[in-house]
């Protein structure tokens, strides 16, 4: 037994060492790991009294962006997030986490609901980006994202966002204009996927590793730039090795933030949220 413990300890410390040195491209792989906890698991692990809510009341529902009403450790919340799915069938069902306009319009609807009952909003970001499809364009993907950003920034209730996996472009920021943006240690958040950036700027999709490095997509880089507020530490070797622990940690930190934000008045919240976003990039000028 003692020998097994010693080996496990050694393996843990090796894993910790490896993960402390992984670069942006490796983090991209970790952020996309199929066993990394997704929205549905966070919801199951953290939200009681949960009722999923569907539809944008205009055209349809969207299975890539889910949400509903529930309680997180006794506190009422509106919860929403991208769901990528975990196997081929569920991935297809959830459109690989790439939302159509209906998803963003549903998000706006849920935010309005939260406002009406003074309930905080908790969002989980995990998407490669909004869906680039013909129907999505026909039904105003750009307008849907713009309205969701707009709503998030004027929300009269506390808004907390967790970048749980991949934070891809406008489809991610649509539900991440929060008072407090938390990011898991090995998540990524970027303006375009490393592959997309490589194929446009390098004209070579295989240069994704270079693009990942150049774009500064990791949690520590984004914290330095003032784009995210908090880094949430992952279990040794990444969230996929111990989803239960990861979900618990996220719950602990989310509740702490929700309680802090809930003490602020709507006006103070909105003012501080806007000031935070306006400040991004400005401090870099003086350096």
């Amino acid at each position: 037994m003692r020998e097994a413990d010693a080996i496990r300890k050694k393996s843990d410390s090796q894993l910790q060492l490896i993960y402390s040195k992984i670069g942006p491209w490796e983090k991209t792989q970790v952020a996309r790991h199929p066993l990394r906890p997704h929205f549905s698991q966070y919801c199951q692990g953290l939200i009681s009294h949960y009722t999923p809510l569907s539809g944008d009341r205009k055209f349809g529902d969207d299975n890539a962006l889910l949400g509903g009403l529930g309680k997180i450790r006794g506190r009422s919340v509106v919860v929403m997030g991208h769901e990528k799915g975990k196997d081929t069938q569920s991935r297809i069902q959830h459109n690989f986490g790439m939302a159509n306009p209906e998803g963003y319009r549903k998000a706006v609807r849920l935010m309005e609901l939260a406002e009406r009952f003074s309930i905080p909003v908790l969002s989980f970001v995990d998407t490669a980006g909004a869906y680039p499809g013909r129907g999505a364009e026909e039904r105003g993907q750009a307008e849907a994202i713009a309205r969701s950003i707009d709503k998030g920034l004027s929300l009269k209730v506390p808004f907390l966002s967790v970048i749980a996996g991949e934070g891809g472009s406008g489809g991610a920021v649509a539900i991440a204009t929060a008072d407090s943006v938390m990011m898991l240690e090995h998540s990524i958040y970027s303006v375009i996927s490393p592959e997309g950036c490589a194929s446009i700027l390098w004209r070579d999709g295989t240069k994704a590793k270079d693009a990942a490095k150049a774009m500064k997509i990791t949690a520590p880089d984004l914290k330095d730039l003032g784009i995210i507020d908090t880094i949430i530490k992952e279990p040794i070797g990444g969230a996929h090795r111990d989803p239960a622990q990861m979900i618990k940690t996220v719950g602990d930190m989310a509740v702490k933030e929700i309680d802090r934000l809930s003490r602020m008045s709507p006006n103070v919240l909105i003012k501080a949220r806007r000031a935070k976003f306006l400040e991004i990039g400005r401090s870099l000028l003086s350096n």
């Binding site: 993907q141 204009t177 303006v191 500064k216 730039l225 306006l278």
Partner: protein, 288 residues
């Protein structure tokens, strides 16, 4: 008063600057295929006889928009230069330098303040010729500056958009311009000031998915490509050819995303009609 960088002289001098005119003497109209003498285009507001609206830069655009082509240029704010030390095939700083040399502008946004049929307005022009009009920190700050100026002086804001989307060389800092510019739009609303968007060719990506789709009124130039994801990306995703006219201004009008497709010639009058109503102004001169 250092933002008053220059008071442009009245009249045509401003319109016929060399920077906005193409180098080749003859230009092939993309619509009809006919050859058009480039000097003739200056007199046609850079619209070919077949009706193709050529892309134009800020100097021409501001000149066409304001009464007698007169306006005050408002300087856009300085931003941190190349914060990510970005390098692909070329260094970002070199690309910036080249774009500045090519256009004579600091970045993609130019601001002018003047009168449109007598109604004082702030006009912001996004220049596609400057690194694809991309929405980096400079463009974002330019937008915010224009909106703040409008709020401060209680003026309406008209924005001519044109962009390939985000400026990838600034990574997530570029992405953050989507919420940042949206905050500026919210301030206009709170001040009860009109915000009119004129979507020009092409307006795509993060620009469309933020301030370009948040106007009180959306106008567009004929034939302009307006989308979130570009046609090539969609064709790659769905593996089928898209129909003719997909994501063009007329198509967006049909789908309910924009209010009206307006030709360049009719733009000034359309804008002044809208502004006269929204600003409750009776200063408007009868142009008929």
């Amino acid at each position: 008063m250092n933002w008053l960088t220059k008071l442009t002289p009245p009249g045509v001098k401003n319109i016929f600057t060399k920077k906005d005119t193409p180098d080749n003497l003859w230009i092939k109209c993309p619509k009809s295929g006919e050859m058009v003498f480039s000097a003739d285009l200056d007199g046609l507001m850079h619209v070919t006889p077949a009706g193709h609206h050529m892309r134009i830069g800020p100097k021409l655009r501001l000149g066409y928009t304001f009464d007698n082509g007169e306006y005050l240029a408002v300087e856009t704010p300085n931003v941190a230069k190349d914060p990510l030390k970005f390098k692909d095939d070329k260094r970002y700083v070199d690309r910036l330098k080249a774009a500045r040399a090519k256009t004579g502008d600091k970045d993609a946004m130019s601001i002018g303040v003047g009168e449109i049929n007598g109604i004082k307005s702030v006009v912001l022009v996004q220049n596609f010729a400057f690194m694809g009009g991309s929405l980096g920190m400079a463009a974002g700050e330019g937008f915010i500056k224009a909106a703040d100026y409008a709020c401060e002086h209680k003026l309406p804001l008209v924005v001519f958009t044109a962009a390939g989307g985000a400026r990838m060389q600034e990574g997530a800092l570029s992405l953050m311009q989507m919420p940042r510019t949206t905050i500026a739009v919210q301030r206009l609303r709170e001040n009860g000031l009109p915000y009119i968007v004129v979507l020009c060719d092409p307006t795509t990506g993060g620009v469309t998915a933020s301030y370009a789709m948040l106007g009180d009124v959306h106008l567009a130039e004929p034939g302009a490509l307006i989308c979130f994801a570009g046609p090539r990306v969609i064709e790659d995703t769905i593996r089928e050819k898209l129909p003719e006219g997909f994501q063009r201004a007329e198509y967006l009008e049909e789908k309910g995303m924009i209010d009206k497709v307006v030709s360049r010639k009719a733009m000034r009058e359309t804008l002044s009609n809208l502004l006269a109503v929204l600003m409750k102004s009776d200063l408007v001169k009868q142009s008929a």
